[in-house]
Symmetry: C2
Subunit: 466 residues, 2 copies
């Protein structure tokens, strides 16, 4: 063997070795697309009559569509904290009874002691990028690049915060006829403000372009893309190409642009030959914001929306796509939660779930691969620090019920005998069966007792002033 | 050419000619599958979380799913009369303000002067079969075989009529824990009662078997199969194979058996090589019967159900399937009605629409074939003989609103300024815009004026005693 052949051979071997270790079948890529305030009934494949979502419908047809998939809270900050830590917000201080989410005048954020999904995957050699709305603290120590992400581009909190009271009309008018200049929300690149106010008409497109670029740049190593769109949170904005795109009006335009974004991500994965090694999951942080008339979405047949613990507040579309791994065209009735994405992704990446704390996420890969049932049997519905309701299998017991927003939110009912619904038979929570099934209530009461005994709730991050 | 060759050649030619004339591309077969009280939100592909409908979902994926498809009435008899005559029930006496449907003690039925879809197709050389619930009169002159069908197997009216008060518990108990022996509904074969009481646990299977046999027997000529299932009308029954089949409970079992039935029909058409020449349409007569708790279905995000003129009462799933003719995987937002099936089928069969009367049905084949928009722009919502609401394009004006059943049904509101909803933006009819759009109300008022001027309402068939 001459020297040239030997060198060539070594080069080829080393390329292959690099390729195997960096992008081996044991380390799939992950893309989590997280909409903001999108309801259970807002997609074509979940029954919406006038919003067209061909890309999400195709994602469902080629993958798995969950019908009983939950976010961990009915509002933004706690829901996002749970997704990225695999833990109920009550365990990490990311909820409060006084302020439901973080605001521009908040001084708190995601505690350093939490191990985020991005940190775990970074540890396993993943490239990690976050493109979109963060809302886990806007001070530098709380931002994505200090919490496991290599890079970040997006807004630090909701798109209706930093309202400019001189520029915007008073009351709801600013929301119902929105203009960019009514708000002063910044766009942050890594740790720097690069634009203020954010041009929200181009924001969905720009998040998408950043995500696509990141995938292309990092295709030789495993990667995690977190793409938390800041829409359809109100105020609604969409790009020029999506003006009057939807029969549903402005709200539909916004959803159809997000659907386009999903199509771009899937196309990139397919064009780059990455589809068979990438798990994509689409869901939303909480239900639709119903108080804003046609600017809010719909939870379909589910009761109520964002801000409350009826099903419409926390049950979400959930679509998983991974050609060749997730069987095509499946509708799954299995119970699952955003927190399960944490545990499932880390497990599939070969990482370790933190064992010095309670992690609520469970590994749902048997469901995804069509190999078994979900390990999840229980959903805890918190409002702030209060456990309002508990679902165990098909049964949901409401200890308290309370309206979502405005005057309704002050109407709180305490149910000495909890309301009880069979969500399989009665998804709209219409028929209380608590007199008929005391044994179910007893079983749920036991679960609650154990849950409370194990619970250590730290001080709230949401109440810390700037 | 010797005599043998000549005879053989003639035989072959004549077979081909027969085959072309009997089953030519100009005369497609039609199968209309009509469920009873199935709601807009009751199928998987319309967003139901716990009812599995893989066959209907496949039918939609291979065909066209309508999101704005309407029955012509919110109750049974008038809805069926409209489907089979292409005319609003107000035009043919098949509605009334005193009795909303026909009963076993009714003496009326479908007038002989009406030209049914079956009669028109029979005229064009079609074999015609009806397998299921009729409900257009149970006296001989009103039965299917005297109104255009070659053969009939099914029940003459609803499955909750002919209640045996000695056998059944009083009140709602009979409906909520149904047994076959509580009702004395007959099964009629052509004109003869062949079974009484009908064994409703096997009824969906038997309708299906009759339809499948009919297709196989008539495959050499054009055929029309009308398969109006008598379920999921309450009381609910299903076959042994479907007991505990569905996570949704008894109601889900019933829908999943109907889904199985659809699968059998499609499979038969494919096995017999008839799929490319057969148009199959699935829909329902009216919305879900909500007063019977978990025994009733759901209209999803639409308001209310059976018996009223809110959207849940009359908007229905509508799925069209015709491989090679109807493009696959389409979701159509076009407006259409069961009455349009009448006109479309007769037109495609080469028949003539009666021109001595007003026919409300329109030819929607351009929509089906992906070639154009729907000619339909208006939906009239009648309750009995009263025009309650009118939809024009995306706008719906309510002149009167009234609850569906029970005490609610006695609460009627007259709207001097009609309520106005944009159904594209607001499918759940939540945001009245009548103050904002007087010009739309004026336009609709004009349509109503013309409609009323052209209207000749004959005496009601539903009020004729036995």
């Amino acid at each position: 063997m001459n020297r040239f052949v030997l060198v060539s051979l070594c080069a080829i071997l080393s390329m292959q070795l690099t390729s195997v270790s960096a992008q081996g079948p044991d380390q799939p890529n992950f893309v989590i697309i997280f909409a903001d305030d999108l309801g259970y009934g807002d997609l074509g494949c979940y029954g919406n009559p006038t919003i067209r979502t061909p890309n999400l419908d195709r994602m469902a047809a080629e993958g798995m569509r969950f019908t009983q998939f939950y976010s961990a809270s009915s509002v933004c900050t706690p829901s996002r904290a749970a997704l990225l830590t695999g833990r109920l917000p009550i365990r990490n201080g990311m909820c409060s009874d006084k302020r439901r989410v973080l605001f521009p005048n908040s001084g708190g954020g995601i505690p350093a002691s939490e191990v985020t999904l991005a940190e775990s995957l970074q540890e396993e050699g993943y490239a990690t990028g976050c493109f979109g709305k963060w809302h886990l603290g806007h001070l530098p120590q709380f931002l994505p690049t200090n919490n496991g992400f290599d890079t970040y581009f997006g807004i630090p909190y909701s798109n209706d915060m930093d309202r400019l009271n001189d520029a915007a009309p008073k009351g709801r008018g600013a929301f119902l006829e929105p203009k960019i200049e009514y708000w002063n929300v910044p766009i942050i690149q890594d740790l720097e403000v690069v634009e203020r106010p954010a041009d929200q008409t181009t924001i969905t497109r720009r998040y998408t372009e950043h995500a696509v670029d990141f995938i292309k740049k990092n295709k030789e190593q495993p990667f995690f893309v977190y793409l938390p769109h800041s829409l359809p949170h109100i105020p609604l904005f969409r790009g020029k190409e999506f003006e009057n795109h939807s029969a549903r009006g402005l709200y539909g335009d916004v959803i159809e642009e997000i659907d386009w974004s999903v199509g771009q991500v899937l196309k990139t994965l397919q064009d780059e030959g990455l589809a068979e090694n990438t798990c994509v999951f689409f869901t939303s942080d909480n239900g639709p914001w119903l108080i804003f008339n046609e600017h809010g979405g719909t939870a379909g047949l589910l009761k109520d929306g964002k801000g409350c613990t009826w099903e419409g507040g926390m049950r979400e579309p959930g679509i998983a796509w991974w050609p060749g791994k997730i069987p095509a065209g499946q509708v799954s009735l299995e119970l699952a939660s955003t927190m399960d994405l944490y545990t499932t992704c880390i497990t599939l990446a070969g990482g370790k779930i933190p064992d010095d704390r309670i992690v609520d996420g469970l590994d749902i890969s048997p469901v995804l691969f069509g190999e078994g049932k979900s390990p999840r049997e229980t959903i805890y519905y918190y409002r702030g620090t209060e456990l309002m309701a508990v679902r165990h299998r098909e049964w949901k017991a409401h200890y308290y019920t309370q309206g979502a927003y405005g005057a309704d939110a002050r109407k709180r009912e305490n149910h000495d005998v909890p309301l009880l619904y069979n969500l399989h038979h009665d998804p709209s929570e219409r028929f209380n069966l608590n007199k008929k099934h005391p044994e179910v209530l007893a079983k749920i009461e036991k679960l609650v007792k154990t849950h409370r005994e194990q619970l250590k709730a730290p001080a709230s991050q949401l109440e810390i002033p700037l």
